[in-house]
């Protein structure tokens, strides 16, 4: 087995993927988890490229970065609207805006 620069590339890629997956699963804030998921899909496409499967990388790029990310973001808005006050969503400006809107008529 021969080592090259690509071996170091693989090591850094796998370490970043593992750390990212752990932070994504253990995050309390849902919006942060969605953004971490988008970056996870990007790095996963790079990992598929390194495993010499460019077709799977193409599908991962189209699905992970282009389709599920916007779907999750749109679903987050719906969830924010229907479950207001139950889940902790760390979109600070929205909460400030709602607070201002609620406190304005009183």
């Amino acid at each position: 087995m021969t080592y090259s620069i690509l071996t170091l590339f693989d090591i850094i890629l796998v370490a970043t993927l593992l750390w990212l997956g752990w932070r994504l699963l253990s995050s309390e804030d849902i919006f942060k988890a969605v953004v971490l998921f988008i970056s996870f899909g990007l790095l996963m496409a790079l990992a598929w490229v390194r495993m010499r499967a460019p077709d799977v990388a193409l599908a991962e790029a189209a699905l992970g970065a282009g389709l599920t990310g916007p779907l999750f973001l749109a679903a987050l808005r719906r969830m924010n609207r229907s479950h207001k006050g139950e889940r902790r969503l760390d979109i600070d400006e929205n909460r400030d805006g709602d607070h201002g809107k609620n406190s304005e008529p009183t």
């Binding site: 090259s4 620069i5 690509l6 170091l8 590339f9 850094i12 890629l13 370490a15 970043t16 750390w19 990212l20 932070r23 919006f31 942060k32 953004v35 971490l36 988008i38 970056s39 990007l42 790095l43 496409a45 790079l46 490229v49 460019p54 990388a57 193409l58 790029a61 189209a62 970065a65 282009g66 990310g69 916007p70 973001l73 749109a74 987050l76 808005r77 924010n80 609207r81 760390d90 979109i91 600070d92 400006e93 929205n94 805006g97 709602d98 809107k101």
Partner: protein, 95 residues
């Protein structure tokens, strides 16, 4: 001489790993989304450099798909997540 491109891709990969800090402690939601956009562009550059380093021209097509779909996440975030419920006195004024 293709190891040079691989070396450049190797230099760009820790830039992604270090930029993860801004996602973990971004004060506003737009900071996190901006970091994801930088990751997309950085990933395109890494894919282009790897396609020269691994001598595989197929990877340029993957980079093309990434560049085509990079705008979708940020635009959806702005129009649907960040801007939606904050109905200020101007309504939905984004020109």
């Amino acid at each position: 001489m293709s190891w040079l491109h691989t070396l450049f891709a190797l230099i760009l990969l820790p830039a992604i790993a270090v930029g993860m800090i801004r996602i973990l402690r971004g004060p506003t939601a737009a900071d996190r989304m901006m970091t994801a956009q930088l990751f997309g562009t950085c990933g395109v550059a890494i894919l282009l450099l790897l396609s020269a380093g691994m001598l595989n021209p197929v990877l340029i097509d993957i980079a093309l798909v990434f560049a085509l779909l990079a705008a979708l996440a940020t635009l959806t975030f702005i129009r649907r997540t960040w801007q939606g419920s904050g109905k200020n006195k101007h309504g939905y004024p984004l020109s």
